[in-house]
Amino acid sequence: MEDKIVKTITRIIIPFIQLYGIFIILHGHVSPGGGFSGGALIGTSLILLTLVFGIDKAKRKIPHNVSEIIESGGMMVFVAIGIVGLALGGNFLANIETGFPLGEPGTILSAGMIPLLMIAIGIKVASTMNSLFHLLIEGEIHEDN
């Protein structure tokens, strides 16, 4: 798309969308929302980027191999946080028993490990949504081995 208005508006609006997504991810345990919805919002902003600036530029920003690493890595972080509970004698994904600091209810730094899980999920979902969109408009994943 060669429309200057669209490009300018997109440039302005994308940071705000992403900020809102980050807000939702970080406040997942105190207010509505969480990793998935916030990640989906960030993913939408990345899709908007692709729609306006074309797939080549979007791919230069987040290449396929990077997003692959982010996706696997996000899940790995999730599992790793779960294993911390296992290693410290509690059950898998144990929260309080593991000794995560609980903080003060109602603030961001509370609820033990849940914010960490939310961040891992959020990053993974955002990247997955983006790469799924790329996959659909391109058809094939070009793997660069």
Binding site: P32, G33, F36, S37, G43, T44, F133, L136, I137
Partner: protein, 79 residues
Amino acid sequence: MGIVNVIIIVFLIVCAIAVARTRDLLSAVIIFSAYSLMMSVLWLLLKSPDVALTEAAVGAGITTILFVAVISRTRRYEK
């Protein structure tokens, strides 16, 4: 249940039937997007703001975009 709830449900059913009957796939997808948005309003009414937020972001946002992307790659009208 309030009257708003009933109106939303009727709207949802009408939208669903419209999605099934419309021959133009792009219109069907747009109607589906409106359907999702209405669904998220209904979920807000039913006191599940979490779900409403997610449905608005995912159902009305990403799903629609993906459908439109696929339609642009395949074809628009149903035979």
